[in-house]
């Protein structure tokens, strides 16, 4: 009897405990106590600075946005491939050349994967690179000024997706093509794709001092789709890895036709070997046509140069440089762990993660253990190079980042979760749902030998109910996880602009001391700069009128201009004479068919206005600059084409 009472009592207790447990879980789900703890962790008091910068790509916005971690506050949107009316990027005469391509002026792109420059495998915070996916381009943003200072177009490429990732000393930034295309382009039946289309993997060298980019060589690979890439590091430094899909080389209904092979490949490229071959005169130059656009911080001008040839390399000409690693079904991300030993390929239609071993790969190559070839490129045996798999970790693995403490964090798109697992044992340690449908995950320094494994940011494709609804169109959602403990903890949701793909994070301390506050007026070498008020003037050259204007709190010099005629092309070259941090001035002209200008201290920018109507038209400063901001204005008198009113200008004359 006593025994049975005990059993019943313990049963009741157990049920009670479970009940409590369930209640707790519900509470957690509805935030509650845990949430206040999370709030403390993301709270950055007014005036305090965040610990990390996060650079989140804008996808179809064509831009790059700068956030603080852990606060999730957005600091800046950096225009890269898209015109940006906020400051006149792509509208001002100086920046229009930045968006020049072989197809002409393209004011938009799809920006995907930012990557910060490295020295000895560590983030150095000098530049950040990002790819334009649609019209293949690579941009470089200077992290002193947070401005796009260089864009190079990539010929023979289409859908510049497996890009832009840098090697461990920023020797190269890669631009791998997603779509294979005829190289050189030609008019041919699409059905003849197989065997005739090529996939160009471009290695763009970066000059160590200036950061100047140059396409060193393009590897012309078989006509697969090259999806993502990552550099080797440490022991695998000198290698680059690209995932492929559509090794079937289908050209229609790829959803089905490119998903037939049980295994696709990771292409392993020994770029050092190819570099050596090229340095010794290897490769062929072929005609090409691509733009190389460079912005100069002293002339405040971009120049666009059309390049006429590119060096291409056939992988078969460099034996021992290119190998194919079989990897389960349509791998998307390929990620190399901080040690450089493990190459993680995520078959996006598979439930398992594949971990290849670099050491085994080299061993198989040295022992020539090949399993056939594809267009002459040796294929290694899956079993020979496999280090192991993470079994049934989730559905639809995409991308993996590392915390530098031996753990990997993989996103699963289909099951919408972030999974933490041990790189050595391949045991799953923790999993957290993502809201909703996560793409990339970012850990600051996650693509380097030295990750800063405190936070992980997942970038979700779908937002649904995370914020107040804003009609059918919602900004995407990012989620911040604390990964400093054994279990991950969701700290914060924050909206991101555009369609964020990858992101790059870096401790603020590496960048913020170098951040530039002004441009020195004394170093302004702009052709049309008015460096002193005495340089302010208006000049006519046929129907072109050049206004050399200065601005300072709170006036323009000159502020009255007469003698402009309908049909003139008026160039306002405006120099900001402020030399004080964060005192830009704006300029807007009524009826201008482009944008405003936002001109930083010491900078000169040019806006073109083509007056079409007779009258007296005002211009004004758009950026609230001082107590007399509203008074910062002026007039332009526009006379008929036939008028003979003399060109004149003034300031303060009554």
């Amino acid at each position: 009897m006593k025994k049975s009472i005990k059993i019943i009592a313990s049963l009741l207790l157990t049920i009670g405990l479970f009940g409590c447990d369930n209640d707790n879980k519900k509470k957690d789900g509805n935030r509650g106590a845990l949430a206040s703890n999370a709030a403390e962790k993301v709270y950055v008091a007014p005036g305090d600075h965040d610990e990390f910068y996060a650079f989140i790509s804008g996808g179809y916005s064509g831009n790059l946005t700068v956030y603080g971690l852990p606060s999730g506050r957005m600091f800046k949107e950096i225009p890269v491939f898209s015109q940006f009316p906020t400051n006149g990027y792509g509208y001002s005469e100086e920046t229009k050349p930045m968006l020049n391509t072989s197809h002409g002026f393209i004011p938009w792109d799809d920006s995907h994967h930012p990557d910060i420059s490295q020295t000895s495998g560590k983030l150095d915070g000098r530049w950040i690179f990002i790819n334009g996916n649609n019209t293949p381009r690579i941009a470089k943003i200077d992290l002193k000024t947070f401005e796009t200072t260089e864009i190079i177009e990539v010929p023979n490429s289409a859908g510049n997706h497996s890009s832009s990732f840098v090697t461990e000393n920023t020797e190269y930034v890669v631009a791998g093509t997603r779509f294979s295309v005829p190289v050189p382009q030609q008019d041919m039946p699409i059905k003849e794709y197989k065997g005739k289309f090529k996939g160009a993997l471009s290695f763009i060298s970066v000059a160590p001092e200036t950061g100047r980019m140059n396409i060193k060589f393009q590897l012309l690979m078989p006509g697969f789709n090259y999806d993502l890439a990552h550099p080797g590091r440490g022991k695998s430094h000198g290698w680059f890895f690209f995932t492929t899909y559509n090794t079937e080389e289908a050209n229609s209904l790829l959803e089905v036709n490119a998903s037939q092979n049980d295994k696709d490949f990771i292409a392993a490229i020994n770029w050092k070997k190819i570099e050596e071959y090229v340095n010794n005169g290897g490769g062929k130059t072929m005609p090409a046509n691509y733009a190389h656009n460079v912005y100069d911080d002293e002339t405040h001008n971009a120049t666009s140069t059309m390049m006429k040839e590119v060096l291409v390399v056939d992988p078969l000409e460099v034996p021992g440089a290119v190998f194919l690693l079989p990897t389960p079904k349509s791998p998307h991300g390929v990620d190399v762990d901080p040690s450089g030993e493990y190459i993680i390929g995520n078959g996006k239609l598979s439930a398992d993660l594949t971990v290849h071993s670099f050491t085994k790969m080299i061993d198989a190559i040295e022992n020539k253990k090949f399993d056939g070839d594809a267009y002459g490129i040796p294929i290694l045996n899956f079993e020979d190079i496999l280090s192991g798999t993470v079994k049934q970790a989730g559905l639809g693995p995409l991308h993996t980042e590392f915390d530098g403490k031996g753990n990997a964090y993989t996103t699963f798109f289909i099951s919408s979760e972030l999974v933490k697992w041990d790189v050595e044992t391949r045991e799953v340690i923790d999993r957290k749902p993502n809201y909703y449908s996560v793409g990339h995950v970012m850990i600051p320094g996650g693509n380097s030998a030295e990750p800063f494994g405190k936070y992980a940011v997942s970038m979700n494709k779908i937002t649904k109910d995370r914020y107040l609804p804003t009609g059918p169109e919602l900004e995407h959602s990012a989620q911040l996880f604390d990964i400093s403990g054994e279990k991950m903890e969701l700290l914060l949701d924050f909206p991101t602009h555009g369609e964020p793909h990858y992101a790059a994070g870096i401790p603020a301390s590496i960048i913020k001391e170098n951040s530039q506050k002004i441009f020195k007026l004394a170093e302004n070498k702009h052709e049309y700069a008015a460096l002193s008020v005495n340089d302010a003037k208006v000049e006519r050259d046929g129907n072109e009128v050049h206004v050399y204007m200065t601005m300072i709190r709170s006036h323009f010099t000159p502020d009255n201009i007469e003698g402009i005629k309908v049909g003139d092309k008026v160039y306002f070259h405006i120099t900001n004479h402020e030399q004080d941090f964060d005192v830009p001035h704006g300029f807007a002209m009524i009826g201008a068919n482009n944008s405003e200008l936002l001109i930083m201290p010491g900078q000169t920018k040019t806006l073109v206005w083509e007056p079409k109507q007779v009258g007296v038209w005002p211009f004004y400063c758009t950026d609230f600059c001082s107590a007399l901001h509203q008074e910062m204005q002026g007039y332009v008198r526009v006379s008929p084409k036939s008028s003979n009113i003399e060109l004149s200008w003034s300031l303060g004359d009554d």
Partner: protein
């Protein structure tokens, strides 16, 4: 008077620090200037603490009609001060040498000190006059005309010494390294005077 002479020479030479270091420093801080604006006043002219501080101070001051901070060539003081300081240092060294060889007694040292003190007071007086003019002689076309509660025009004269609140700015005006070196120098000459007195009496008593 060997010891006194040497101390006198060292003391006078400390004045030369004014050719390298500022005499005075005025800082202007406000919530929107987390890094305060500042000017260093040298005997040869006024410089910004940061490269563009003078331009930015002038930019703020134009709202209330203050004059631009003068360039060195615009003020006779910046031509005279170096001569006075150089001259006093030279004179002090000469007195020190003469004292060292017993050619001059301790009253010479004190004479130098009194002269230095008088010149210093005159300098301060001149400096204060300039600050007053700078802070009260305002452009009648000034954009903002601020008045005191009693209706008199507000003065923007920075304090000669110490802290003062001026509109949204906290103004701090204090001697700078050059001045401290000068004070140290003057203190040393005072020490030289007392030691000299002692030494002189010892010589006399022999």
């Amino acid at each position: 008077m060997k010891k006194a002479g040497i101390i006198m020479i060292i003391g006078s030479l400390l004045l030369l620090g004014l050719f390298k270091f500022p005499l005075w420093n005025i800082m202007l801080g406000a919530p929107q200037y987390p890094e305060p604006l500042g000017m260093d006043i040298y005997i040869e002219g006024i410089k910004g603490v940061q490269e563009f501080d003078i331009q930015n101070i002038d930019g703020i001051n134009h709202y209330i009609g203050m004059q631009k901070i003068p360039k060195p060539e615009a003020m006779w003081e910046f031509r005279i001060f170096p001569l006075v300081i150089g001259g006093m240092a030279a004179l002090g060294v000469i007195i020190g040498i003469l004292g060292f060889f017993g050619k001059i007694n301790y009253w010479g040292v004190l004479g130098w000190l009194v002269l230095m003190f008088v010149l210093g007071v005159l300098g301060m007086y001149d400096f204060n006059t300039w600050l007053t003019d700078y802070g009260t002689n305002l452009d009648p076309r000034a954009i903002m005309k601020m008045t005191n509660p009693d209706g008199t025009p507000m003065s923007y004269k920075p304090p000669l010494f110490g802290h003062q609140k001026m509109l949204n700015f906290d103004v701090d005006s204090f001697p700078s390294l050059g001045a401290y070196l000068m004070f140290a120098g003057m203190l040393l000459t005072l020490v030289a005077f007392f030691i000299g007195k002692k030494e002189w009496k010892q010589i006399k008593s022999r």
